[in-house]
Symmetry: D3
Subunit: 224 residues, 6 copies
Amino acid sequence: MKLVIKVTGKFFDDLGDKAPLSASIKSLVEEGHRVALVTGGGSTARKYIGLGRSLQLNEASLDLLGIWVARLNAFLMAMSMPDLAYAKVPENLEQFLEYWGHGKVVVVGGFQPGQSTAAVSALVAEAISADYLIMVTTVEGVFDSDPKKNPNAKFLPRVTTAQLKTILESSQSVKAGTYELLDPMAMKIVERSKIRVIVTNVDRIGKITRILKGEEIASIVEPV
Amino acid sequence: MKLVIKVTGKFFDDLGDKAPLSASIKSLVEEGHRVALVTGGGSTARKYIGLGRSLQLNEASLDLLGIWVARLNAFLMAMSMPDLAYAKVPENLEQFLEYWGHGKVVVVGGFQPGQSTAAVSALVAEAISADYLIMVTTVEGVFDSDPKKNPNAKFLPRVTTAQLKTILESSQSVKAGTYELLDPMAMKIVERSKIRVIVTNVDRIGKITRILKGEEIASIVEPV
Amino acid sequence: MKLVIKVTGKFFDDLGDKAPLSASIKSLVEEGHRVALVTGGGSTARKYIGLGRSLQLNEASLDLLGIWVARLNAFLMAMSMPDLAYAKVPENLEQFLEYWGHGKVVVVGGFQPGQSTAAVSALVAEAISADYLIMVTTVEGVFDSDPKKNPNAKFLPRVTTAQLKTILESSQSVKAGTYELLDPMAMKIVERSKIRVIVTNVDRIGKITRILKGEEIASIVEPV
Amino acid sequence: MKLVIKVTGKFFDDLGDKAPLSASIKSLVEEGHRVALVTGGGSTARKYIGLGRSLQLNEASLDLLGIWVARLNAFLMAMSMPDLAYAKVPENLEQFLEYWGHGKVVVVGGFQPGQSTAAVSALVAEAISADYLIMVTTVEGVFDSDPKKNPNAKFLPRVTTAQLKTILESSQSVKAGTYELLDPMAMKIVERSKIRVIVTNVDRIGKITRILKGEEIASIVEPV
Amino acid sequence: MKLVIKVTGKFFDDLGDKAPLSASIKSLVEEGHRVALVTGGGSTARKYIGLGRSLQLNEASLDLLGIWVARLNAFLMAMSMPDLAYAKVPENLEQFLEYWGHGKVVVVGGFQPGQSTAAVSALVAEAISADYLIMVTTVEGVFDSDPKKNPNAKFLPRVTTAQLKTILESSQSVKAGTYELLDPMAMKIVERSKIRVIVTNVDRIGKITRILKGEEIASIVEPV
Amino acid sequence: MKLVIKVTGKFFDDLGDKAPLSASIKSLVEEGHRVALVTGGGSTARKYIGLGRSLQLNEASLDLLGIWVARLNAFLMAMSMPDLAYAKVPENLEQFLEYWGHGKVVVVGGFQPGQSTAAVSALVAEAISADYLIMVTTVEGVFDSDPKKNPNAKFLPRVTTAQLKTILESSQSVKAGTYELLDPMAMKIVERSKIRVIVTNVDRIGKITRILKGEEIASIVEPV
């Protein structure tokens, strides 16, 4: 299968071991899957955006700083898999497609200002006609309301894209960004290309092969 | 001033003279402005998207075909101003910023799948902290409803970004894409960076200096 | 075998199905051949050259517009074979050689002003020491005179490079460009590297494997 | 004059204001100087090298991670001077020379594994035949012994390259890297091209114009 | 004026001073002209082509070796004019146009197999709409027959492109390559774009400003 | 195994057959090894450095001329192995890593001023975690003193890195550069990454498979 794995930038915040992610990807490749990895920026991105803001950079430049940090995280992971991964981090979708054609794992940070890492991962998934977009996040999966606010939020192991859209929109009507899985651009691409999305927690980053087999907690979002 | 001019792809559909656009840009540069030009794809883009669809390309690839045609239109205009314009069409925002630094007119087609030419022009306007984003379209300017549907639609010479957003959303609630000035991504960037937008008709493409002086029909959209 | 297929730009003029070309290439690859494809520009190229001429572009710039359209056709075909073809269209012979080294089908539009697509295909054939250069044209093959002018022109299934040269030179003495298979630059390369050329009609674009086996109408031009 | 300013990565460690560096460069440019800036990696570089080490990356890859962070710092400073600085960070000396030719401030992070930022700044200074290489460090200038170890270390306002070499070599004989101004490669380049070096403290980063006039504490190292 | 200077590779064969060429270009720039320089490969090119031939390289690869040496000569001259010349040698016409836009002297070696340095210089002259293409050769100028064979060959200070074509064709009918000023491709471009050509001897390489004023021996070839 | 072969530039000085080097590499690849080749510049490099010096280029530019010639030698060898070698010569270590990832033989000339070809080969060996760095030189191997000066110099078939360092340092104390196997930068990398080095003579360039098996004269330098 063709898989896109999107990992929250938070994964890179501490000095903890990042090997479980490399190990998961290695297992997937050994099982015959093709994998693209998309990494977020995390707290280092926020540090640099803060430095940029104090230097009065405009929004586009601030986004570019965040993209650079996401690419640094991407480069770290690419270097950790010298036999599996393409040695360069693509800077736009056309480069991604060129590198992908070489049959390697391609690791992506970000592409351009004005879009989230989620949108980047959706673009990548669409471009390769991926079987699944696996979002490794800070939540357990999809809930019917924001679990950080509602202790009775119900976990949804299976949900349609349309249902997720409704949940996200109601959530965002409270406060933008508080429950961000798929921003509008990512959602638009997921919808138009009917991309299947799996949402799971970063704690399970070493168990992605098990997630694909349904042996770990995760929500699956399907186009219907 | 720093200006971004976004021209509808329709301008390139026929074999009519394209010199009025070059002439407008030349005048603006001579008056001391810096100019970035963003071109749409038009009917040639639609032709290639049609060919791609019959070859069963995915959505990302179809968008890339449209982007290539928009870049072809950009290249045509760049070649028509050999002393003013940068000889290469940038393929992403980082390249755009590099070329822009050389002090030339930079002509852009498109950047990546999943976004409109309007979004590209908003990204460019944000990145250079433009004074105005001038949208040269198939309509006269902003109306309080879609003039193609409502013969009593009222022309609005001056409107806030918030008002435009309301108009576009109500319009799109009828049928997506029928009245497309700024898609959601373009709108998001225009809002967050408080970009002033001028909307005018392609018939006035040779009179952009007059539009800036308020001597031609156009709507101006301001952040407050 | 190593094959270069050169397809007339006319193939891309209408909205007809382009899948027979992809299918031919897929068959050739499955039979173990390596394939480079060179596409012409056709009527879209002529449209843009016309637009450029009305903008008073010089000859080099006009040629570049034609090259861009040929590259657009190349990109369309590359996108139609995502598993077989290299995702980028090379812009010069050195890039071509780099991409070719990856073992994929490489699709080429044009390289530089002042040379025909036929010359490009001869350059490519020489650089990879191709077994055959297959020219898919608007004629059935090689005739002893221009079949569009002479109803008694005789079809030649087998001809030497020297004979073809004589025929083309006599033809061109009437009016340059009326019977263009190989322009002087293409001819020079074909001669110096003793490249075998097959000439066939675009109607047989889906049957190139049969042409190689001599089961379809085509002329073969051999160095002696 | 042509100036290369090398800033310790420590400058980027905290969230303090980085504007004094931009301001210094702006003043220098306004006074008619040409400026290249080289930035170190600092604690973020060490964080990523630590992450890489726990992933068992080889030394070359670890150095590349440090280089990426130094480039991130370079990019931050380039974005803070959109009208003065080249928008791209060069990745090797040949790119640097190309960008430098455009008359802009060029900001450099690192070039390749196996060499310090000091060596990078010496390479850059040599390539542009710089008048001064200004090293903005964590020390006040050159001392006759390591001031962190010897409270009686004597500050040397003026010293020859040969003297500095002797001091550094005796210092390094104690423990490599404890007093690193110029590593052997940087020293070799400074010597062969007779580059004049100024050493000052990062506290004076906003006063480089004054340093050049001898109005601030700094040591000057001259080839004799 | 816009000038293209094409210098025979023979100029780079010995260890003699190459400064007169830099000096000529410097004078031309100071007089307000814009200059592109095209260099041949000379004996070093022949050495490498010989090495390549003994390694059984194909014709395209042999030509590429010659192009690399011509680019080495180009790089040498570019480095000798660090304030005037663009620091990179373009590898195709599109790159040339990009670099040319920066207002610098651009130095070119070769572009692709299958064409002479004369053809490269004609392509460059056409692309920038040059006022003159100045060919610095091993002959004094244009003669009515090959002066190396005919001691009575008459020097022609002024000749039309058509006349030159006739002379070259009769000359080449004896033995290809013995009297090569403009090969067919170069001639085709000179003709179609009506480029004025000046032919002079490499002995006068330091006097190009005088040649332009008609104060040194040279032939001028005009489109009529 | 992963092997880096570094060949003295002297190998390219004469017109003798270079096929034994291609043949050695072909054998190594057929035996299942992966190979990177690093070529020196030789007498052609010295010729161009001489031309550059008479044009008063700075040291960085002179080094770049030498690097260009080393790359020309690299390109020659790459072209001689069209099925085995990557068609482009990388210009820095990051490009090298990208090309290396494609599974081909990668041929390198030089990377940047201020470092020897030996340092380049050590960088490459470190970056790919090579099993051996094979230095094909003008000497037979490592001696306990300079064999060109001391007729009683003793050949050392096996030596530690530390011993080699002592020998080189004592040798260089006499006159810099007279006995150059590993300059300080190369030595530093060899030490820090514990790279095993084999030293042999250019006469055995066609017998590298035998050298690896210990069947030809060579010294092996091991980290302890």
